[in-house]
Amino acid sequence: MSDPKLMDRAELEARFARAGLTLSKAQLDELHGVSGYLQQWVDIVNAPREMAAEPATIFAREPT
């Protein structure tokens, strides 16, 4: 993977606070430092696909 682009720091802190996590500055610094990996994954899963493409909420034995 290429060098990941980090998330906006203020948004990152807001999201952790909304999740109810109280993190130290050191923890926030470290998690901010790796937030780019998440951004890469988010970009991949959000690639355009047909509206009818359904999620795999269950495993099907055979194609339906």
């Binding site: 998330m7 999740a19 996590l21 790796v34 937030s35 990996y37 994954w41 899963v45 795999a56 495993f59």
Partner: protein, 465 residues
């Protein structure tokens, strides 16, 4: 057993013919645990009294003609996320340090009903993701081939204990590679069965839709025997599949005439970097498969990075949900590896999770379409041999897309088998991947390879405590 550690199949034949006492076998395992586990840390709890009582009962039943089958009297141990009734089950975590379940996990019960002898509970990465870690109540398991190296996880204790001959088999779980990683790095065999084949009921969840339970053992044949007892529909597990269970052992074979093998070459040649010795080992393994009668063609699947993105977003989100209440109250009681990795899910959104589940269906469909012309797929198990603890890094898993993850996304069965040894002396391995519910085929191909190669003749040299 001090010099010759039998496989489950060998021990079973001896027990059934009354040439080996289950009590003697259990005592030998317990002696090896006492001698070696002080340095290996594979066991979190040894149940000596219970194991010997079970072994004595097995001996009595077999002598009276009441054999329960090939696992009767065979010593095994369970990863410590499997609930064991009345026996402490911690998930290797301070959070559950005093937890004593009231019920067995379904697979624990089924293995007990098959007559196995339960030696104890095995180390894991905390809640099957936080490891290897030194900030937990118990130290991490060490690799029996070189104690400075990690075992791979999260079924770390199972891999170490089997390689060291302290148990003949055990249970693992696999959400992103956790049966296959320690199987590969500890040089043992393991199968991540098809999603839904083995019950998850009573096994502490990491990620509801990605978790698989399955067996690990020294040989593929032993995995087939253990899988036979573990597989089958369980109404306690909402994802459990109601499918016929074949006789896995009888479907093992020693030639591969007519078997079509698809090599996912781009996984290890383009999508991730692997050690040159792993590449050489894989090439040699393909030569063995070819010599056994298989035909090998290249198969192209979606890039590994797509599977990794899909798997990580689902895994982290579901893990966060499992632990959300405890995270708010006891975040710093988790080990750093677990809490920091899982906390990242707070940065994801609901739509991100659902998009990952949509990608999951797309990837599953694409894999199915690309593999109609083959019976099994083959790729490297891991990029190279086990790293040292010193080189192990909390975020290393995010830097390169992991080779095991595609089959957690698709639910396909995978057998991991040793393909030889790195110049450092550490084991290398490949994955043999099947179509959904064709678990018997992956076992058959891996078994044929294993019987044709000399790697089972070598055990790690252990240091006494």
């Amino acid at each position: 057993m001090s010099s010759e550690i039998p496989s489950i199949a060998e021990a079973s034949r001896l027990i059934q013919s009354k040439a080996l006492s289950p009590v003697t076998l259990a005592e030998q395992c317990l002696e090896r645990i006492r001698t070696y586990d002080g340095k290996l840390n594979a066991f979190l709890l040894v149940c000596e009294k219970e194991a010997l009582a079970q072994a004595r009962q097995a001996e009595k039943d077999i002598a009276a003609g009441r054999s329960k089958g090939p696992l009767h009297g065979i010593p095994i141990a369970h990863k410590d996320i499997y609930s064991t009734k009345g026996i402490r089950t911690t998930a290797h975590s301070k959070i559950l340090a005093d937890h004593v379940p009231k019920e067995d996990a379904t697979t624990v019960r089924k293995l007990a009903e098959a007559g196995t002898v339960m030696l104890g509970k095995l180390a894991t990465h905390e809640f099957a993701m936080g490891g290897p870690s030194f900030d937990l109540p118990w130290p991490p398991a060490r690799n029996p081939w070189n104690y400075d190296h990690v075992t791979g996880g999260s079924s770390s204790g199972t891999g170490a204990a089997i390689a060291a001959g302290m148990t003949l088999g055990g249970t693992g779980s696999d959400t992103g590679g956790s049966i296959r990683n320690p199987s590969a790095w500890c040089g043992v065999s393991g199968i991540k069965p098809t999603y839904g084949l083995c019950s998850r009921a009573g096994v502490f969840p990491l990620s509801y839709s990605l978790d698989h339970t399955g067996p690990m053992a020294w040989t593929v044949e032993d995995c087939a025997l253990l899988l036979q007892a573990m597989a089958g529909h369980d109404p306690r597990d909402p994802a459990s599949a109601s499918v016929p269970i074949p006789d896995y052992h009888s479907l093992l074979r020693t030639d591969l005439k007519g078997v079509r093998v698809g090599l996912i070459r781009h996984f290890h040649e383009q999508d991730t970097k692997i050690d040159p010795e792993m590449q050489k080992s894989l090439d040699a393994a393909l030569g063995v498969l070819r010599d056994l009668g298989a035909t090998i063609t290249d198969v192209r699947l979606p890039p590994l990075s797509q599977f990794a993105a899909c798997c990580y977003i689902i895994l982290l989100t579901e893990a966060f949900v499992v632990h959300s209440t405890e995270f708010k109250a006891r975040f710093n009681d988790y080990c750093e590896n677990f809490r920091d990795r899982a906390a990242l899910a707070a940065l994801l959104s609901g739509p991100d999770y659902l998009q990952a589940q949509r990608l999951r269906r797309q990837l599953t469909d694409e894999v199915r379409a690309a593999t109609t012309g083959v019976d099994v797929l083959v790729t490297a198990a891991l990029p190279g041999p086990a790293p040292t603890f010193a080189a192990s890094n909390k975020w290393a898993m995010f830097k390169q897309p992991p080779l095991p993850m595609p089959c957690n996304v698709t639910g396909q069965p995978v057998t991991t088998v040793c393909t030889g040894f790195h110049s450092s002396g550490l084991p290398l391995a490949m994955q043999v991947i099947g179509h959904p519910f064709q678990d018997a085929t992956t076992l058959a191909v891996a078994h044929a390879y294993q019987k044709a190669t000399p790697w089972r003749a070598k055990r790690p040299v252990l240091k006494a405590t």
